[in-house]
Symmetry: C2
Subunit: 133 residues, 2 copies
């Protein structure tokens, strides 16, 4: 077994063989999104230098940006003390969120206990995806 295969095998995968991956913008350190990888998506991510995930909703392998062109160029991959979470630093092309924001974490809990939108959209999802998402 290659060192990479061993490193991938060493991780702890949860339900359906998935491990959560936190995606962070390498320059600004902004947390962009969380998605789930299986062993194949992690291997593809390392091999191609672009993030790949397993879509739990669509039940399919997924190159991030395959429709929008908003791919993520991998700069570094980390794992945690429990081997059950990944942290991937990337260069984000355009924006990470399918709703049009740079980061998926665009809502903040305010002092009144409500979720406030605290970021501006940087693209129009209807134009990029061709329909309302």
């Amino acid at each position: 077994m290659s060192p990479l295969k061993e490193s991938i095998a060493k991780l702890k995968y949860g339900e359906h063989g998935l491990i959560p991956a936190i995606i962070v913008d390498a320059d600004s350190k902004t947390v962009l999104m969380v998605a789930y990888m299986n062993k194949d998506s992690l291997a593809d991510t390392v091999r191609t230098g672009k993030t790949h995930f397993w879509s739990r909703r669509r039940k399919k392998h997924w190159l991030k940006g395959e429709r929008s062109g908003h791919t993520q160029d991998v700069k570094a991959i980390y794992t945690d003390c429990d081997n059950d979470t990944l942290l991937v630093e990337v260069h984000q092309n355009v924006a990470a969120c399918h709703k049009g924001y740079f980061s998926c974490f665009y809502r903040k809990l305010n002092d009144a206990g409500e979720w406030d939108v605290v970021a501006d959209k940087i693209f129009n999802p209807e134009k990029v995806y061709g329909k309302k998402k």
Copy 2:
């Protein structure tokens, strides 16, 4: 129902009523750890200003730092476009990782495909926890 209760109820909880929470150091933007909250741990986190989680392994409610004193003071709470992940910015007291590192993500995949330790320990876990962890 209070606005906070509504905001907590609006989130999507997965298996066992848990939502993953990414914990980030508010100053350095370092991703410190990922842990899981249920509705009660999120409510306690907001109420006390200290992170609380549900331990999946120990099956119990958990104030981060209850043994080590390495608590996390909450600065901001965000959620994502899918309402199924939280991002919590904190001031980390001492260090987040029970292995002695500031962040749990102290291992990086190197070009040979191996996990390299890339951080220094900043406390001795045996001294803090009283036994080998």
